[in-house]
């Protein structure tokens, strides 16, 4: 192809410089690359290379990490102007376990994370308390604490309510599309009706799904402390899955599937379905006759945060029935604060109608049907989670 004369003396000299160029550049880069281990070691010493750190020192800023769609803008704005605290609010808490895995590397080494307040579900809060990653709340500065609903006072994993304050509570029951099912549903066993094969949804939230099935078998979930005691439910769920009864395990995404008709029925949370039942009269929510699970999300104060005063102010603010009512009108879950019903009536209009909604203010009969889980020991919980994971497909 190309014929060129081989190197002339002049180009040899030039080439020498050429190679040297490369070598120098390469050598410099190499030396630069060598400093990387030192860089790594230095990185190890840093804390918080993540998003803006707001926590730590001072009394006028607050970072609250919450679930998506779980707080209205107005309440945040009103809080900031009333208290003078500047609040950073993000909604990156999508899943208890995933968030736990995110913060574990830092918290387990005694470092701190950016958010001051998180909103874990009760069982995750129990785990955080057990691991010592949360601080005792500054209760002295939260006088509205007395407004906590009586049935929520004192938990087995936090006897004096020292570490947590409930944020919202809810019910897990069954939601169904009556147009697809063709009949009304009443019981947990309806979920296993072969007529609905491939059109049943269940939650990825283990305690709600397994809890309902256990209640369907006549068990009391508060008494379940070992995996063996619950294995009957796991077996039933495994069987239903392998027979194709269950279409998928979902998070909050069952809502659209339900209204679209992909699900005939699914295990569902009361707050999600409230609005849906108004938009689509075919969709109904029931607490099964064997019982439904009662759960709650909490607010906890992360260890290492030094914003005691803003934390107290915020929690106090939320436990004022007026603010709690506004929040309830937005998220449409059951408030842990006493006196919300009256406040909603005072707000008038659609909000007053919410005061009469049995899903937001269950009557005594419904309440009697609800059961909640106790705390599970670490190794038992691991067995529960593993078994559930292998069924839900992991």
């Amino acid at each position: 192809m190309n014929t060129r004369r081989t190197t002339t003396p002049q180009s040899v000299k030039a080439s020498r410089l050429n190679r040297r160029d490369f070598l120098i550049r390469g050598g410099l880069m190499g030396a630069g690359a060598l400093s990387l281990p030192a860089l790594l070691a230095a990185c190890g010493g840093d804390s918080g290379s993540t998003a803006d750190t707001v926590g730590g020192g001072g009394g006028s800023s607050l970072f609250f990490e919450n679930w998506p769609g779980y707080m209205d803008e107005k309440t945040i704005g009103l809080f900031q102007s009333a208290s003078g605290v500047s609040m950073k609010y993000t909604e990156a808490f999508n899943d208890n376990n995933e968030y736990f895995a995110k913060i574990q590397p830092e918290m387990s080494k005694g470092k701190t994370i950016a958010p001051d307040i998180l909103a874990p579900t009760f069982w995750m809060a129990a785990r955080l308390v057990q691991l010592g990653w949360v601080q005792k709340l500054p209760k002295a500065d939260i006088p509205n604490f007395v407004n906590l609903r009586d049935d929520l006072v004192g938990q087995s994993w936090d006897k004096g309510d020292e570490y947590h304050l409930p944020y919202q509570t809810g019910i897990a029951g069954i939601a169904y599309n009556s147009k697809i099912t063709g009949r009304e549903l009443k019981s947990v066993s309806d979920l296993f009706d072969p007529a609905f094969k491939g059109k049943i949804g269940m939650l990825t939230e283990m305690r709600d799904t397994i809890g309902l099935i256990l209640m369907g078998e006549g068990k009391k979930i508060a008494d379940i402390t070992t995996f063996d005691a619950a294995s009957v439910a796991f077996d039933k769920l495994e069987k239903a899955k392998s027979e194709g009864q269950i279409r998928s395990f979902t998070g909050n995404d069952y809502v659209d599937d339900l209204s679209a008709g992909n699900f005939a029925a699914c295990v569902a949370w009361s707050g999600d379905v409230l609005q849906l039942t108004k938009d689509n009269p075919d969709v109904k929510f029931i607490v099964p006759e064997e019982g439904g699970t009662s759960w709650f999300d909490t607010m906890v104060w992360m260890k290492g945060s030094e914003n005691a005063s803003p934390v107290a102010k915020w929690m106090n603010f939320l436990y004022d029935p007026v603010n709690a009512a506004r929040l309830t009108a937005f998220v449409q879950y059951i408030s842990p604060v006493k006196g919300v019903q009256e406040e909603l009536v005072k707000m008038g209009g659609d909000n007053a109608k919410l005061a009469e909604d049995p899903l937001l203010f269950p009557d005594a009969a419904t309440f009697a049907l609800l059961q909640s889980w106790g705390a599970l020991a670490e190794d038992e919980e691991a067995k529960f989670d593993e078994a559930f994971a292998s069924i839900t497909g992991a």
């Binding site: 070598l23 880069m29 190499g30 690359a33 281990p37 094969k197 691991a382 292998s390």
Partner: protein, 348 residues
């Protein structure tokens, strides 16, 4: 340019030394003062190399040049590819004292591997079969496209290649989610199938299940095929493009039909591209979890979902590492067989 021996050995030795040192430091084979010693030794090697380059004359420099160029990149890879793999192996042989023991001790615990190979065998098998089917599908769909661009593209070649790559510029997740819209129960595809009364055929082929296309193995495989199609088209194109068109013409003169010319001339010459594309599709597909998560159901979980679950949900780092390592080993064996077969040059 071939190089003379001794300086080259120095360059090779230094590169190996630096790479090894990097891994040693990152993976904590040595700690404390010994680590400092290793770092100093590495620095000494680098300086020695530069010195040799300057002092050794032209030949030396010619020999050492490539090693100089390679050093930064190779060191980076040693630090952040080899060292992590070492960490993973160590973790896979460790055991935890409790669920929330985040710093397991190394105990030569092979139990993790037993769990990985028995409890998750269905997922391993399923992953490799899904990936295999997806790879075959990418060949079927991608080969004609690559052929067209290589032989019929003309001056539009670059534009067409660009078009193949463009879907890549939307997010992987969004592309997968879009199939949710397309294959939804009340969406266009299912409606079309129902109007054409083809649902019976699809059900018997297990492409549809209970009248739905979403949340089926077919949806997962379809997602894998779609997402990795460009990885098959581009390598095939590269090897087709190298074929001298005159060879094809000569073949046409020799054989009686175009299809024979294709089979005897074009196809064999495009084999390197096919094999390269095959690897580039099969391997990421086998380890994927996004498609199974968004498009599948509890029966379609792949090994990627399991590893993710063990790592992030069960917090069982030892078992997760064992599973990753098994996956890696199986795939490395495949890659080694391939490279022995085809030679490493042609992979590009």
């Amino acid at each position: 340019m071939s190089l003379s021996s001794r300086p080259e050995n120095v360059g090779l030795g230094v590169m190996l030394g630096l790479g090894l040192g990097a891994v040693a430091l990152a993976a904590q084979w040595v700690k404390g003062p010994s680590a400092l010693l290793v770092a100093v030794a590495m620095l000494a090697m680098a300086i020695g190399l530069i010195f040799t380059a300057f002092a050794g004359g032209l030949e030396a420099r010619k020999s050492l040049a490539p090693y100089g160029l390679l050093k930064p990149g190779i060191i980076w890879l040693c630090l952040f590819f080899l060292a992590p793999l070492w960490s993973m192996v160590v973790m896979s042989l460790s055991s935890k004292t409790g669920r929330f023991d985040f710093f397991p001790d190394f105990t030569w615990n092979f139990e993790n591997y037993r769990i990985a190979l028995t409890k998750f065998r269905p997922q391993f098998i399923r992953s490799f079969s899904y990936a295999g089917i997806a790879t075959l599908l990418t060949v079927v769909i991608g080969y004609p496209l690559a052929y067209f661009i290589a032989f019929r593209g003309g001056k539009y070649r670059n534009i067409l290649l660009g078009l193949v790559v463009v879907p890549f510029f939307t997010s992987y997740l969004i592309r997968t989610l879009a199939w949710n819209n397309i294959l939804a129960d009340e969406g266009p595809v299912v409606s079309l199938i129902n109007t054409l009364h083809l649902s019976g055929i699809f059900e018997s082929l297990n492409i549809m299940q209970n009248g739905k296309l979403m949340n089926t193995p077919a949806a997962v495989i379809g997602g894998l095929t779609y997402n990795f199609l460009p990885f098959m088209v581009l390598p095939i194109y590269v090897s087709l493009e190298k074929i001298d068109v005159r060879l094809v013409d000569a073949a046409m003169d020799l054989y009686s039909s175009a299809s024979q010319a294709f089979r005897k001339v074009v196809l064999p010459l495009s084999l390197p591209g096919l094999f390269a594309g095959g690897l580039l599709v099969f391997i990421p597909a086998a380890g994927d979890f996004v498609n199974a998560q968004f498009l599948g159901n509890p029966q379609t979980t792949m090994i990627g979902n399991s590893i993710q679950d063990q790592f992030l949900r069960q917090l069982n780092y030892p078992v997760a590492s064992a599973m990753s390592f098994v996956l890696m080993i199986i795939i490395t064996i495949i890659v080694l067989i391939y490279t022995k077969f085809m030679g490493t040059e042609d992979l590009a």
